[in-house]
C-alpha cells in the first residue's frame, strides 16, 4: 500500500468512527463506540505494516522518543495540578458520603452517581487527553523541525 493511500484510509476510518459515535449516542450503547474504536486502531496498526514506503527509521524513532518524553514531563505537572484541585474539592466535603442530594426534602438520595455527572467526568478526561495530544504534536513538530524534517529538499515531490 502507498503511504498516501494509508493516510486516506486513516481519514475514512476516522469518519466511520465519528458515525459510530453518533450511532452509539443515539442507541445509548457505549460498547458500540468502544469496540469500534479499538478495532479501528488495530486495523490501522495492521495496515501500517503493509505500507511499502518506509515510514520509520532511527531518526523518526528518536524524534518520537524525545517528543513523548517531553510530553510526559509537561503533562504530569498539568495533570497533577488539576488532580490536586479535584482532591481539594473532594476533601472539602465530608468524606465517605454520597454526593450532595439536590432532590426535594424527605426523598431518598440516589444510590449511585447520576449519569450527567459521569458524562461530565468523561468529557473532562477527554479534554485532558486532547491536551496531551496537543502537547505531543507540538513537541513532535519542534523536534522534527530541529532534526531537519522541513528543510529544503532537493528531491521533494
Amino acid at each position: 500500500m502507498k503511504r498516501n493511500t494509508f493516510y486516506l484510509l486513516v481519514g475514512i476510518v476516522a469518519l466511520i468512527e465519528v458515525g459510530i459515535f453518533w450511532l452509539s449516542v443515539e442507541a445509548e450503547r457505549p460498547i458500540l463506540i468502544q469496540v469500534a474504536f479499538v478495532l479501528g486502531v488495530i486495523l490501522l496498526y495492521a495496515v501500517r505494516r503493509t505500507v511499502e514506503e518506509r515510514m520509520e527509521d532511527e531518526r523518526t524513532a528518536m524524534i518520537t522518543q524525545k517528543a513523548a518524553l517531553r510530553t510526559l514531563e509537561t503533562f504530569w505537572v498539568a495533570f497533577f495540578a488539576i488532580s490536586l484541585g479535584s482532591a481539594v474539592v473532594a476533601f472539602s466535603r465530608p468524606l465517605g458520603l454520597r454526593p450532595p442530594h439536590l432532590g426535594p426534602p424527605g426523598t431518598a438520595p440516589p444510590d449511585m452517581l447520576e449519569l450527567p455527572f459521569i458524562g461530565g467526568f468523561a468529557l473532562f478526561q477527554m479534554a485532558l487527553l486532547c491536551l496531551m495530544i496537543f502537547l505531543y504534536v507540538g513537541f513532535r513538530v519542534y523536534y522534527a523541525r530541529k532534526y531537519g524534517d522541513w528543510d529544503t529538499d532537493e528531491e521533494q515531490d
Binding site: 518506509r54 515510514m55 520509520e56 527509521d57 532511527e58 531518526r59 523518526t60 530541529k146 532534526y147 531537519g148 524534517d149 528543510d151 529538499d153 532537493e154 528531491e155
Partner: protein, 72 residues
C-alpha cells in the same frame, strides 16, 4: 559532524531515495544527515560507507563544537 555523502552520491550517480532504500532509512533522514541536522548511528554510518565502498572516516568527519559554531 561534517560529511561528504552528497559528493559520494554524485560520484555514484545515486539519488537520496536510492541511498535511503539501500540502507533502509527514510529519504528525509538522508537529507537531514547530508545537511548536518542529524548525526546517524554507527550502524547507519557504516551502511552508508559500505554502500559507497569506502571507510566511514572517508565520508564522516568529526567536527569540534567550536568549528561547528564558527560554521553556523
Amino acid at each position: 559532524m561534517k560529511n561528504k555523502i552528497k559528493v559520494f552520491r554524485a560520484m555514484h550517480d545515486m539519488t537520496q531515495e536510492e541511498l535511503a532504500d539501500r540502507i533502509r532509512v527514510t529519504r528525509r533522514t538522508i537529507n537531514s544527515i547530508e545537511r548536518g541536522k542529524y548525526n546517524p548511528s554507527i550502524e547507519v554510518a557504516y551502511n552508508i560507507a559500505k554502500t559507497f565502498g569506502v571507510a566511514i572516516e572517508e565520508i564522516f568527519c568529526f567536527e569540534d563544537d567550536e568549528d561547528a559554531e564558527a560554521r553556523r
